[in-house]
């Protein structure tokens, strides 16, 4: 499954991290370096599996850990409305 950035959500990269502005414009979400890696992949239409591979390749972490990290971040991004399933729109 792939995802998209909803209208009104904006992101900027700062010092190797990301800051994402929600669609209401009243909350900023910070993503650390590994979060930025995942954000780059998912916001560009990539899948969670691809984001997991990015983390494994960049940080040499176990696949299970990468899967858990991506799933956790994806859930939080979806809950906050910063990403949406691509099928919706």
């Amino acid at each position: 499954m792939s995802y998209r950035v909803p209208d009104g959500v904006h992101a900027r990269e700062v010092d190797g991290e990301a800051v994402v502005l929600d669609s209401l414009g009243d909350r900023y979400f910070g993503l650390n370096r590994s979060g930025l890696v995942v954000w780059r992949r998912l916001s560009a239409g990539g899948t969670p599996s691809e984001a997991e591979r990015d983390l494994v390749n960049l940080y040499a972490i176990p696949v299970d850990q990468a899967r858990a990290d991506v799933a956790d971040l994806l859930r939080r991004l979806l809950d906050a409305g910063l990403l949406a399933p691509a099928e919706e729109g």
Binding site: V14, D15, E17
Partner: protein, 277 residues
């Protein structure tokens, strides 16, 4: 005719310490009645002095107990019993609405020129921004701005303000000469200003919650800037994105250092600037 952060305006009263100019005015200030009505943009919580901002067909209305301002594209109507005090107030908080309509976002801070660079101090009221800026101006450094620190769209160097600092009574007591007390209990101190401020090389955020001096980067730096915009009220189209862009640009291009409120002196500032340069 006067000029304040790049906006030329005609005032019905003489304004001390605001640059007089001879160009054509962009804004006309006049006294008249202002109705406190419209779509509510912001209302202060009960714990704070009463304040409300409205959007109306005539413009943005800012309402305090002592004055109302209606800020349109090229007109500001001031409604107050004390005209002089109201005009004094106009060039502070309401001016951020004037600036926002022109694409300029304003941080709550003071700035001085130090070693060929501009150094800015951000923080909540009472955090020591003005005191620190004033102490630096006393040792010969030029003032860039006090209280309002505005940035033109796309720029990370603050606009130059007036040669005025507003000191708390306890700080004013240390000054050799200060002016009259203003309606808010602060005292005017004058300083030489930098007409063309050099690039901003340090933003020092004076934070009540900070225990130590530490540099912040990335998302934390953006957050440190974001929480120090002068006003929470959004009055102009595109302002959310402009603020987001400014906070991100500053965090990416200017070292952001958080320090305990009221605990930093001029020597600390010089040392921090040297460390981040």
């Amino acid at each position: 005719m006067y000029e304040r952060f790049g906006v030329r305006f005609r005032s019905p009263l003489v304004l001390d310490h605001v640059a007089p100019v001879s160009d054509e005015a962009d804004l006309e200030v006049r006294f008249d009645r202002v109705a406190g009505a419209g779509e509510v943009l912001w209302r202060s919580p009960p714990s704070e002095p009463p304040f409300c901002a409205y959007a109306s067909a005539e413009g943005v209305i800012l309402e305090w107990e002592h004055a109302r301002f209606c800020i349109g594209d090229h007109t500001v109507v001031v409604d107050a019993a004390d005209h002089g005090a109201a005009l004094h107030d106009l060039i502070r908080a309401p001016w951020t609405v004037v600036l926002a309509a022109r694409g300029v976002e304003t941080l709550h801070g003071s700035a001085v020129v130090l070693g060929g660079a501009t150094v800015g101090f951000l923080g909540a009221p009472g955090s020591g921004k003005t005191t620190l800026a004033w102490r630096l101006t006393r040792s010969g450094h030029r003032l860039v701005a006090d209280d309002l620190m505005p940035f033109a769209e796309g720029s990370v160097t603050p606009l130059a303000g007036t040669p005025v600092l507003r000191l708390r009574p306890d700080v004013a007591a240390q000054a050799a000469t200060v002016g009259d007390e203003d309606p808010h209990g602060k005292f005017i101190a004058l300083a030489e200003t930098a007409e063309s401020p050099p690039p901003l090389r340090l933003l020092l955020v004076l934070d009540e919650a900070a225990a130590t001096i530490r540099r912040v980067t990335g998302a934390k730096a953006v957050e440190a800037v974001r929480t120090n915009f002068f006003s929470p009220v959004l009055t102009a189209p595109g302002q959310v994105l402009r603020r987001f862009a400014l906070a991100s640009e500053l965090a990416g291009k200017v070292p952001i250092v958080v320090a305990p409120a009221r605990a930093v002196g001029p020597d600390d500032v010089r040392r921090i600037l040297e460390e981040v340069s």
